[in-house]
Point group: C2
């Protein structure tokens, strides 16, 4: 994994991929699958919808740290598996054969197998909407990884895989943040 | 356009497509391009990041209504064009040759040419994060439309088009909301 400048990290979440989110509590790592995320700011700041219905939420609230890991389509069955069992009774890293890698600035681990990882701190929790606000503090991409397509959850049990990429940089030049 | 049951409307936004948002103020319709959206609840409730830097924000705050229209990839240049000019000095419906269609429950119009439209009311504005919370009140899809692929903004001037769809409904059966 090579470090990605923080001002580019929002481009990992803006397209709306399904992500894995790691937390750490009481000596244990956990992972949840999340599809409801949004960019709030280029710096970057992210929002994520979650709450007490996810076992990870207690760890997130207590330690105010997580890692957002972006899986490739090759990991889809792992992503669905992680989203349909609970960290309350399952060691998800062991069950799904994932390797936790030590993060640099937070305690929850990165997921080696993913195509990108973003270390985050919780800066706010908007209780009335179950929104957790995250500030990214470090980001990494695996530029050697062959499968680079992400997946987008539809919410009905189907997933859309990334197709082709279209370039409109010239048309958008006046609106892109500096350095992007 | 046929009406889509409201409990399915979240599946239009969950995959993270770039969307058009219409507003109405002082006898004029306006449109903005938005990529920063998120589902907050299945009912459905949505979040959208926007603020005073968008001309539409004043109309959104004043009248507390909008329509989220989901464009197909065939409208990409329209989407980028709408995102790079301002409603302060441009009639975007006229400039981009779009037909406004009367909404049923809100004043801002639907966009005929899009593959889906969601009529929304603003229920909250989280000022400190520039987040607008929307409750959908009606949703429609054009089931005759041939081009059904949406686009996902990366944020660097490139866009990812929907690729193939993978079905994991059986694996996810226990976690899908009722009726989905």
């Amino acid at each position: 994994m090579r470090e990605l400048p923080l001002n580019r990290a929002f481009t990992l979440l803006e397209p709306g991929p399904v992500v894995l989110v790691t937390t750490h509590d009481a000596g244990k790592d956990n992972i949840m699958t999340i599809s409801w995320t949004m960019v709030l700011d280029f710096t970057p700041v992210f929002a994520m919808t979650t709450g007490p219905w996810n076992h990870s939420f207690a760890a997130l609230r207590k330690h105010r740290e997580c890692v957002i890991a972006i899986p490739g389509v090759d990991l889809l069955d792992t992503v669905v598996g992680i989203g349909t069992c609970s960290g309350a009774d399952t060691d998800k890293f062991a069950r799904f054969g994932l390797t936790p890698a030590a993060s640099r600035l937070v305690k929850p681990p990165r997921i080696e197998a993913c195509l990108a990882n973003i270390e985050c701190r919780v800066t706010d929790i908007i209780e009335r909407h179950h929104v957790v606000v995250l500030e990214a503090v470090a980001a990494y991409v695996d530029s050697e990884r062959e499968e680079r397509r992400t997946v987008h959850a539809v919410g009905d049990g189907t997933f859309i895989v990334d197709g082709r990429r279209i370039n409109r940089r010239r048309m958008m030049a006046s609106r892109l943040p500096p350095g992007i």
